[in-house]
Structure formats: structure tokens, C-alpha cells
Symmetry: C2
Subunit: 189 residues, 2 copies
Amino acid sequence: MTTEAKPSSRERLLEAAATLTYRDGVGIGVDALCKAAGVSKKSLYQLFGSKDELLAASLKEGAAAFVASLLPPADDGRSPRERILHVFEQVEVQAGVPGFRGCRYLAVQIELKDRRHPASRVARRIKRNLLSYFRAEAEQGGADDPDLLARQLIVVFDGVNARAGIGVDNLKGLIAPTVATLLDAADMR
Amino acid sequence: MTTEAKPSSRERLLEAAATLTYRDGVGIGVDALCKAAGVSKKSLYQLFGSKDELLAASLKEGAAAFVASLLPPADDGRSPRERILHVFEQVEVQAGVPGFRGCRYLAVQIELKDRRHPASRVARRIKRNLLSYFRAEAEQGGADDPDLLARQLIVVFDGVNARAGIGVDNLKGLIAPTVATLLDAADMR
């Protein structure tokens, strides 16, 4: 694609689904999605088969950006401890951006209820990769119990994202001491 | 009300709203609510004015049970530390019950998006009371920074509720060490 190319119907639908479900929830209607994308309903069904599959595809499409926005580059020379703290520093930055509503992959799973929904499956997989990242860094850093530490870190990740996302905590002065306490308790380098 | 009395239309609507929104989300339709309650739409609007107000009333109605299911009796003779741990022991028990979907007051706020929605306001108030409970016990127990500890505890509360509620963590072996680590770090008695 050249820089001149206009986004395709597929790209516009993915973008509309990502933006509108994050802002308004998974209950957003097909009409609203098509209107925002400037695409006919017929095109939506031809391209994705269903709204459910469009939601799943839009979450999958956003996974790389999600990872890039949170994780440091591989082998960046920093310690595993710093590489974990990096993720939480990004959360704190993101929470300060207008329109922030927390982790979209957590929200989608809470909203959909149905764990077999295609979008719920995609969201679960993406978050499992974040858990694996924490687990790998914890092991690398010599944590006493890498499994436990990784679960604790993703609980904090989901907890602070959720609370900042609904506007009940601004996270100031909260994340760094919390994560440091958990890393220290695990004897993490 | 005698033990023979049948639940009123109002009570049946409150119960239906609590059950169905917890299971299916806030997008549940007025028809489904009325059908489950065995009440006409006209009655719903006469009694509550709107679905939004019915949701808010059902959350408010459930607040006492929520508190009773989590908090120990006042002045039960246990230490503040034990009185905090009690809450989290209850969460672990609740998470093992079929149909558990996490904290309804967090879910409602995430699902509604609109922070001014009457049900969102009620949910926020109920959770603020839980934060206040943690804050008061933290202060009573001589925590170094009661505000920080209370915020950390409710982050863990929301994080573990959310993750168990979507079925990605069974909480086994997770909550007790996490909370103990935070209490220890705060020098909490």
C-alpha cells in the first residue's frame, strides 16, 4: 500500500469496530458500524460474515499495536525487573490520555459474557500472551515463583486498567510502589 | 410482609434485573426483564420510570447483601489485618460458585461506559464504600500509608474478581499471598 492509498472497506470496518466498541461497548449496532465506516451492510457481511467475526478480527488486528504500546523491544539490555516495570509505566501514561477506558481485551470479555464468542477467544489469547511475557521475565529475573508473580502482575494490570478506565482512580503514586512490592517479595532482580 | 406473601411486581423486577444483567449484561432488553419478572412493561415504567432506573434500583437493593457477603461484622474482635483478609477469603469462596462473573459493580461500570448513568453512579458509590472500609481498617492497623494500601487492596479486589469472572484464573494460591505481601509491605498489624 502506498501512502496515497485510501483505506479499504475492510480497513475502515476494522477501525470503526475498534473505535466504537471501545467507546460504546460490544452492543454497538451493525448500522452504527457501517455508518462510521461508510460501508454497506452487505459489504460487512461479505467481508466478515457477521458482526461477531468483525469484532474478533478488529481485536486481532489491534494486537500488534497493543503489544508495541506496552512491551519493550526484545533484548533491549534492561533487566527483567525493568522490563516488567516498563509495561506498568506505559499503563500509567495511557491512563492519562483522554478517552482511556482501560484494557479493551478485559472489557470485551466482561461485556460479552459468552466465553466462546469469537471476540472473547481472541481477547483471551492476547491477554494470555501478556501473562506469558510476565512469566518469562519473572523466570529470567530469578523470581521465587514465576507463575505466582506473573498472575499477580496481570491482576494488578487488569485492576488498575479497570479502575482508571471507569474513572475511579487516576493511578498517581499507585502502580510503581505496588509492582515494586510484588517484585521485591518475589526476590526479583 | 409475612413469610406467606408472594413477591410484589417491584420485587420481581428488581430480582430479574439483578439476575439477568449479571448473567447477560446491561444490554438486556425490557421485554426480557418483564418476561422474567412476569410483569407488564406498563408496570415497569410505572414503578421505575425507565430501565436505567430499574438497573440502578436493583444495584442499590443488592448493596446490603454485597456488604454482608464480604465484610465481617463490626467489632468482631479480630485484628484489622484479619478483617481485611476476611474480605478476600470471601472473594475466593464466591469465585468457586457456578455462575460467578466477578464483581457486578465493576462490570456495570465497564459495560455502561457512561459515568453519569444512574446505575453507574450507584455502583461507584457502593465500591467507594468498600474502599472506605479498606482505608479504615488500614488506618486502624497502623499501615504506613492507609490511602495507598486501600487503593492497592481494591485494585487486587477488582483484578481478581475480573479475572475469575471471565474464567481466566481460578484464584487458587493467588489471593492470600498477594494480599499478605501488600499488608506486610505497609507494616500492617
